[in-house]
């Protein structure tokens, strides 16, 4: 089964070509056009600019990916239809719909977060070979827009156990970077400075760590950093490193503690990390260590699949087709009923697509 996948939920335009046979996944092509340098100079994403850039890049990217054989041999077209920026989603979806309809191919609508989860399948062949051995799995999904603990009972079946009540983990990194005037995007900068700082220099709060649920809250952590800065007259380079290290230690402690607790309570067979913050080395090391202590395998995506990409969307589509999740597979005229769902919650059964 050959799948062409399109992802344009934020500021990356991405196209992938995947061939799947039973338990073997072969990624043939994986192209990403990142707009990060364009948005960097503005200090954030500009929806209008992102949408225009998607329009310019999407067709050349598809042409390049498909090469001479064009859509011959393609069995399915897959597209991200949410969550994300609606103005960005629309571009990828319009392209996918037109390609699918004109070539009489079924269109698979994929949840962006499900894609992030499946980046683990892309990175660990043992998962693709024997999924059942590792399911149910507990997934910690952390990115700029999400912080969720998800119980995946089988392919396509999800239950959100907890989520952030305010800011996402990646967003907290971005905002702390902003408070410290470190630039955008904040995650990589803060985590790299943190490696040189003292994690115990500041005792930042561990929000909700002892609450009897799996929810997170990171808005107050950012405010605690702000209060610390307000009290200081001068801020040295060492202070910045120490603040980064102490902030990161607080955030990771909460994420890991709740993940491990949920893994025990729900008696899962594996723990997985997904999303942009899965690039964070300290988070990976801590989860690896603590998963081992409770005897569970820990999976994380390769660095190149932690950010937004279409390869993960193709893998999610592959399992949706294989396990006949027909709600999300559209044919012929029905293709045009598909609309972007900016706030599509994973596991939410849509009454109609």
């Amino acid at each position: 089964m050959k799948i062409l996948a399109i992802e344009s939920s934020c500021d990356e335009t991405a196209i992938a070509l995947l061939e799947g046979h039973g338990q073997i996944l072969q990624l043939k092509k994986n192209a990403i056009y990142s707009q990060i340098d364009i948005h960097k100079k503005y200090g954030g994403v500009i929806p209008e600019v992102a949408a225009r850039k998607h329009t310019e890049t999407i067709i050349p990217l598809i042409d390049n990916t498909l090469g001479k054989s064009k859509l011959k041999n393609i069995d399915y077209v897959a597209v991200t239809s949410g969550p994300g920026l609606v103005t960005s989603l629309i571009l990828g979806m319009a392209t996918a719909k037109a390609l699918a309809f004109a070539n009489h191919l079924p269109l698979v609508s994929v949840n962006h977060l499900e894609g992030h989860i499946y980046s683990n399948w892309l990175s660990n062949s043992s998962l693709a070979r024997n999924s059942q051995k590792y399911l149910p799995a507990l997934i910690l999904l952390v990115s700029g827009g999400h912080s969720e603990l998800i119980l995946m009972t089988s392919h396509g079946q999800y239950q959100i156990l907890g989520q952030t009540l305010d800011d996402a983990a990646g967003e907290a990194y971005d905002k702390v970077a902003k408070l410290l005037h470190l630039g955008y995007p904040g995650g990589p900068i803060v985590s790299s400075l943190a490696t040189e700082g003292n994690t115990q220099a500041y005792n930042f709060p561990r929000p909700m760590i002892d609450k009897e649920n799996y929810d997170f809250s990171f808005s107050g952590l950012k405010t605690a950093v702000l209060y610390t800065l307000e009290k200081k007259k001068k801020i040295s380079k060492k202070d910045i490193k120490d603040i980064c290290a102490s902030f990161q230690a607080a955030l990771i402690e909460v994420l890991v503690k709740k993940t491990i607790k949920a893994a025990k309570v729900y008696k899962v067979k594996s723990i997985m990390l997904a999303g942009g913050v899965a690039a964070n080395q300290v988070l990976k090391n801590t989860l690896l260590k603590q998963s081992r202590e409770i005897g569970l395998p820990f999976f994380y995506p390769d660095l190149k699949y932690t950010g937004d990409n279409a390869a993960m969307i193709a893998v999610a589509a592959y399992y949706n087709v294989r396990f006949k999740n027909n709600n999300y597979i559209l044919k012929d005229k029905n293709i045009f009923d598909l609309e972007p769902q900016a706030n599509w919650r994973l596991g939410q059964n849509k009454s109609k697509i």
Binding site: C10, G44, P47, G84, T87, G144, E171, L179, E230
Partner: protein, 158 residues
Amino acid sequence: MREYQANNQAATEKIATELAKELKGGEFLALSGNLGAGKTVFVKALAKALGVKENITSPTFVLMKVYDISPLKSRQKTKAEGKFSKLDGGKVDKFVHIDCYRLSGQEDLFEIGLGDYLNYNNIIVAIEWADKLVNLPATAIKIHMELLGEDKRKISIA
């Protein structure tokens, strides 16, 4: 213009709840203030008082989140407090929460896709970092928040 000083989170929430009772639908709330000024706390309390059941999470990443308002609930709530609310008609059924934090400061409301939600009597819109938008409507209720010291905030509503 009204000015308040909130000495803790509960006080901020109370001011937001009071403001919610004055709204009758079609309003546009423009919030400004730096990181940590308390905008999200304010909006969460406002939404709750309006009858949004879902937990309000940061829309920074997706820019905009739209919530359903249960009219019945908002009616019960205000009755229980012994006050008559203008929301009693129960016609306000949507709350739109926008966060312009990631914007560059050159867009207007239509460029961020808000055109569909403006000036409808059944919708209340709250925008954080509204100072990053150009051409705000003149009717906007402007809420500015400022951190005075740990936990202390000044809130002005105009």
